[in-house]
């Protein structure tokens, strides 16, 4: 194996991994899901699943990446044998397929940031129409998708320390500062107290509703970055005697703290400015689930003293969150090709051009975007299961003692970890996928099997099936190119 770059310090690694975890999901999805699932009563299962899903998977990813020093494909082939390289390819492909449309999302954030910086945002009369015109124009989302992925590629091109670490050392503290300032401003608005009351009041009957628990688990699966293979990729660059469990706990708690800050900001702002419409604003998903962010937030800031200033803060924070996550997805795909003995610049060029082209359909069609978001969002659960299976087949006890409680580890992880990774995570995956499919079947009893509908069981089975078959067919070639014959 060639010499692999290392993060310059523990804090470089932690800040970069927080950059993976904190994304647009923390800022625009979490507040809406918390509002629609009972506020305070949602927060309880959401915290429980942080410890049952996110942190154990983060620990697993750190341990795998640090011990194998390969991206997802090489890691799976090393841990489980070359026959199972396809599982790593699937994990890498899911994150890459998400990157194709996440770059479009980062582009949307950039567009709104540009509008606030050029003072155009508050000149818009009808934000719903403006959003529809923007999305329907085709060239505009494509242009901003190109811009976002180009910025990401320019960062990645410089490598781990001078690219990823340096960018995150700027993006993440700035993002935290922006969110904290926004939150302080929001809670000091007259009437903001109603927002806090709504966010934190528990409706105990909701705790008996299994859907609240499943939404809480889903939110953890989607917004902490655990089980995506991204943390595994950054772990490749960990220093030799680096801690695993304490870093995982720090990142998990940090990520969910940011989500809560974002929710406090949004709930307080909405309740302070438009209390009579608060429920509708917080609970309506809007087009492509972006209603709150791109339609309501500009209108809310317009009504607030100093709104232009705070709107810029908000969209800057959103753009930073999107970019810090986007670069980790770019790095994952680039790492896979680098493991196949390609140079960084060649691997990155391939990934960059691929993302430009394969992100275009999502930039041009909202239906295509929704289909990809649905298909690969659910596939993330399968990725999480594959990571748990990799640890289980390697031997949970051996993994815990050799890769987690290794030299440099700050705290000792007990036997409880074996049970979580062997049983609790696979069980959560089975329950979640069954529930999501059941919901689709309930909502559309006639069309759930149709693979050509944007959100159907059929489209998942078809797309997952095709990629798994292709990866199985090329398994030996991929494994040999990665690990050598």
């Amino acid at each position: 194996m060639v010499n692999i770059e290392r993060f310059s310090s523990r804090w470089g690694l932690v800040i970069s991994v927080i950059g993976i975890a904190v994304g647009t999901g923390n800022i625009w999805r979490f507040p809406r899901i918390a509002a629609t699932n009972g506020g305070g009563s949602f927060l309880i299962p959401w915290i429980i699943f942080l410890f049952l899903w996110s942190i154990p998977l983060m620990i697993a990813e750190f341990g795998i990446g640090k011990s194998t020093r390969y991206g997802p494909v090489g890691s799976f082939a090393t841990l489980l044998g070359k026959r199972f390289a396809w599982m790593g390819v699937f994990v890498a492909f899911v994150a890459t397929a998400i990157m194709f449309y996440y770059s479009v999302v980062a582009g949307w954030c950039l567009r709104y940031l540009m509008m606030t910086l050029t003072s155009q945002l508050f000149q818009v009369d009808n934000h719903t129409e403006d959003w529809a015109t923007f999305i329907g124009s085709g060239w505009q989302p494509a242009f901003f998708h190109f811009t976002a992925i180009t910025i990401g590629a320019l960062i990645i091109r410089k490598g781990v320390v001078h690219g990823i670490e340096r960018a995150n050392r700027f993006l993440i503290p700035s993002l935290l500062l922006l969110i904290i300032i926004s939150a302080v401003r929001a809670v000091t608005l007259p009437g903001a107290y109603e927002g806090l009351q709504f966010l934190f009041t528990p409706e105990f009957s909701n705790l008996l509703d299994y859907r609240v628990w499943l939404q809480a688990l889903t939110q953890n699966a989607w917004d902490t970055g655990a089980g995506w293979g991204l943390i595994l990729t950054y772990a490749v660059y960990m220093r030799e005697k680096e801690d695993v469990p304490l870093n995982a706990a720090l990142i998990g708690l940090g990520n969910n703290s940011v989500s809560l800050l974002a929710a406090i900001t949004i709930f307080c702002t909405v309740f302070a400015l438009v209390p009579e419409q608060a429920g509708e604003i917080l609970q309506t998903p809007g087009p492509a689930n972006t209603g709150l962010t791109f339609i309501w937030i500009p209108q809310l800031f317009y009504q607030m003293p100093g709104g232009a200033f705070f709107a810029t803060f908000f969209f800057l924070a959103l753009t930073f969150a999107a970019l810090s996550s986007l670069i980790s997805m770019l790095e994952l795909a680039t790492r896979v090709f680098m493991d196949m003995k390609m140079s960084r610049s060649k691997a990155l060029s391939l990934v960059y051009v691929g993302t430009l082209v394969l992100g275009l359909p999502s930039a041009l069609s909202v239906d295509f975007f929704l289909n990809q978001d649905w298909t690969w969002g659910i596939a993330l659960m399968v990725s999480g299961a594959f990571i748990a299976i990799a640890v289980t087949r390697y031997g949970a006890e051996r993994f815990r003692s050799q890769q987690i409680n290794s030299e440099g580890s700050d705290i000792h992880v007990g036997h409880w970890y074996n049970y979580l990774v062997q049983y609790a995570i696979p069980l959560q995956v089975v329950v979640l996928i069954t529930w999501w499919f059941y919901q689709v079947i309930q909502a559309d009893p006639r069309g759930w099997w149709n693979p050509f509908l944007p959100e159907s069981v059929g489209t998942c089975i078809l797309q997952w099936g095709v990629v798994i078959l292709v990866f199985l067919f090329f398994n030996k070639i991929i494994a040999d190119r990665t690990l050598g014959r």
Partner: protein
């Protein structure tokens, strides 16, 4: 604010923000100790 909202807020913020600060403090002290040993 209702009593239950206040209790939930204290518990949630305590676990997340308090937990984050506590883990960060522990990580900093462990890291400082490692660096001292290295020196």
């Amino acid at each position: 604010m209702s009593v239950w909202a206040l209790i939930t807020m204290i518990v949630v913020l305590g676990i997340l923000w308090g937990g984050f600060v506590a883990v960060l403090a522990l990580a900093i002290s462990k890291e400082n100790r490692k660096n001292l040993r290295k020196d």
